[in-house]
Symmetry: C2
């Protein structure tokens, strides 16, 4: 397989993969292309290589920037903006974990705490099942929250090298 073909496959699969994770296809594809591009590239490059409109590129690039996965780069003497993606995959992963935790896990835990405090007779079967379900989800969520915090703080080598041994 040649580079061009492999690149296409990677971009296309990464896009499909992204849709399973609540990320839109194009955003994931832009991210994929930027990750395999050694040097910063422009919006026009992205438009051409992914065959999408200017507005689409602009929108999704900005979203990637708010996720902390892509940076704007100003090349000296150049008028146009260039873009580049974080290449360290560990940093990419922790960045994504950090953001999703903030956007999804934290609000969910907050809600579950509210719902636990429901008024009603604990002897009632329906009430009991509700509280039990909500509490156990919250418990698991809190655990995940702590575990992810540790992961975020840990450095790449510790994770890649050491974690499995601990788990074994």
């Amino acid at each position: 397989m040649k580079l061009a073909e492999a690149k296409q496959q990677f971009i296309s699969s990464w896009g499909a993969f992204g849709t399973h994770w609540g990320i839109n296809r194009t955003m994931a594809q832009i991210h994929a292309l930027l990750m395999v591009s050694p040097d910063p590239i422009t919006q026009d490059d992205l438009m051409e290589q992914l065959d999408i409109s200017r507005g689409n590129v602009n929108m999704n690039i900005r979203e990637l920037i708010t996720w902390g996965l892509v940076d704007r780069v100003i090349l000296p003497g150049e008028r146009r903006e260039y873009f580049t993606a974080e290449k360290d995959i560990w940093k990419v992963a922790t960045q994504i974990i950090k953001e999703r935790k903030k956007r999804e896990l934290d609000p969910m835990l907050k809600l579950l705490s509210q719902l636990e405090k429901i008024e009603g007779d604990k002897k009632d079967k329906k009430t009991k099942q509700f509280v039990d379900t909500v509490s156990s989800i919250k418990k698991l969520g809190l655990q995940a929250d702590k575990t992810l915090d540790v992961m975020i703080k840990a450095d790449e080598n510790w994770f890649l090298g050491g974690l499995v041994k601990i788990f074994k």
Copy 2:
């Protein structure tokens, strides 16, 4: 807050939550309702309580069954089918992890292995960046794969009680 209101909130939030995870809103809502229902319920109950059509319920219930999160129950002397959800949240989590690993992680790792074997000069900057990116994603993916396998095999108490201490 009363039970009815809390239940509504839980179902609705769980649905919204699900969409961030590639699960459709209705499927997540059905799952939520079944989780807080102490006894098995029918398709008609789901239709009424969630205000959705029969076909919709049927489709999503079957999907939940293939995910291993919901079971058909035949009550003795009853003609209609009833449905019930796994209530042990640890089992729910491991089941979801198991399925997503199979559906998403495994195929992705397979693809990345293919893409690594690209023909081309490693001294070429573009080729190098491509191989580096693909390899490091694969490495992280393999690690996640192993870690998740260990989690799936571990029992609930070990995870809920012991894991954090190890991480600290």
